[in-house]
Structure formats: structure tokens, C-alpha cells
Symmetry: C2
Subunit: 160 residues, 2 copies
């Protein structure tokens, strides 16, 4: 099948592993979740059943079940059920990707809530609060910047 053969001079299976490794490091995802995501980005046809995912990635049905649910919860893939005894199929929600990642970025700036609280805790402590003030200033600024990102992405994608 074309999914595991050479395409464009590179092994898709290598690409899948790289992708999974990156998502493990960056998002703390299990490797299998990253593999599912990567596979669903390049497979043809775009929709796959749980059994097909398990076969393609050499993972157990339990693992597929768990990780597919994780990806569904994050909003990165969708599940389409079909009538009768047919298996449900999964596919990448490429349109939701930006949303999910932007939300994740915004959460980084939530540290500003902690630093602002810390600043209040140290109020009246004079110089002692200097460190906290500097860090808080950064996170407060970052918080504003990141919330603007979403608007800019919408403008950017509308523009084309």
C-alpha cells in the first residue's frame, strides 16, 4: 500500500516517528497519539478505522482506543460513526488545528495570574518584590500579545 512505500524520496514511517517524537516532547502526548495524528495527516484515503490504525502503527486495540480519545478531546481529529455494524472512521480536523494550538499557547500566559498574585502577596515588601515585578511584567505583556494572535490568524486566513 502506498502509505508505507517511499514517497518523494523519504520514508513516511520515519516522518511519522519524527512527528510523534516532537509531539511527545512539546505537548507531552504519548508516542502513539502522535503516530496516529501523523498517520492521519498523510494516509490515503483520509478516513481510517481504529483497526486500520492499529494495523498501520502496530499498536493494540486498547492503545488505539485510549489515544484516539485523547486526540478527540483535544479537538485534533474527528470521529464519524456509520450505520449498522460498520466501524467508525477517524480523520484529522485540519481546520481546528490552529484553534487548538492557539488555545494551548494562550495557556502559557496564565502564569501571569500566578505572578500577579505573587506580587500582591509581596506588596509592601519593597525591593523584595522587584524580581517578581519584572517577571510579572513579562507575562502580562505576553498574555496580551498571545490573545491578539488569534485575531491575527483569523485575519490572515480570511485574507487568502
Amino acid at each position: 500500500m502506498s502509505d508505507t512505500s517511499r514517497v518523494g524520496g523519504r520514508q513516511p514511517s520515519d516522518w511519522i516517528e519524527s512527528f510523534a517524537a516532537r509531539f511527545e516532547a512539546q505537548e507531552g502526548m504519548p508516542l502513539i497519539a502522535g503516530r496516529i495524528l501523523a498517520f492521519l495527516l498523510i494516509c490515503d484515503p483520509v478516513e481510517r478505522t481504529a483497526a486500520e490504525l492499529g494495523a498501520a502503527l502496530s499498536a493494540s486495540s486498547g492503545s488505539i482506543s485510549t489515544n484516539v480519545r485523547l486526540l478527540l478531546a483535544r479537538g485534533l481529529i474527528s470521529k464519524t460513526t456509520r450505520r449498522g455494524r460498520e466501524a467508525a472512521v477517524y480523520q484529522v480536523r485540519e481546520d481546528a488545528w490552529a484553534n487548538v494550538m492557539l488555545r494551548r499557547l494562550e495557556s502559557v500566559a496564565e502564569v501571569s495570574e500566578l505572578t500577579t498574585g505573587g506580587l500582591r502577596m509581596l506588596s509592601g515588601q519593597g525591593d523584595r518584590a522587584d524580581r517578581m515585578r519584572k517577571v510579572d511584567e513579562f507575562y502580562s505583556w505576553l498574555s496580551g500579545e498571545l490573545s491578539q494572535l488569534r485575531g491575527r490568524w483569523e485575519a490572515h486566513s480570511r485574507r487568502r
Copy 2:
């Protein structure tokens, strides 16, 4: 000592735990590393020895050694050695904080290297590359935005 007493109506030890929990979730840091960082943000005086950190956070000398090194490697704290047999002291590098975090954010956009590579891998596959193209478009845009952030932070902090 004032570090563990009530300040501004909130327990610093609770704040330290919240801070550590957030950094564990967000940065994948060990809890103790987050505690050290939090403690160094609010302690008085600002410099502390490894032994003091261990005592304040109820952690073993080995744990302090490991996690202090992790924070040094990330550039979030500095180590100052002193002459003779005196213990080295650690303190927060509040000025480096923005730099470290911006670099971390930029690494998120490195996924664009994978998606661009994936796109090349799927070249000539027509519709099959549509998913990848959309995701790649987002990461490429994000990559540009995040690299601009650094410039904007410098402008912002110079302005005040």
C-alpha cells in the same frame, strides 16, 4: 523566618506549590525545580545556598543538586561561587526570563519544519496533501509571528 510566615494574607508555601504545579504541567519540569524557582522568586535575601534550598523545601541534597543544574541549564537562575569554603549561592535571573520563555515559544513553531518536509514528501499527490498544506500554512504563519514577538518585547521593555 519571614519566608514561611503569612505575607499579604496568603501562604507563600501555597503559592510555591501552585507555581511548581504549573511549571510541571507546562514545561514538564520536576516539581522540585518549580519549587526552587518559586522560592527564589520570593525569598529574602534573594541569594540562597543549596543547603538553604533543601531545608526550605524539604528536599534532599541530591535533588537540589540535580534540579538546580536543570534551572541553570535553562538559564532561569544563576550560580555565584564564593572564595574559600563558602557555599555557592543561587538566585533568579529575572532579566533572562523573557529570553528563555520566548525561545521556548519559538520552538513550538519548529513543527513547521516537519510539516514543510511532509509537504515535500507528498508533492505530486494532489488532494492528498491538502490536510498537510493547511496545517503547514498555520505553522509557517505562527513561526513568523513568534519570531516577531522577541523584537516586540525588546521594544516594549526599552520603552519604559
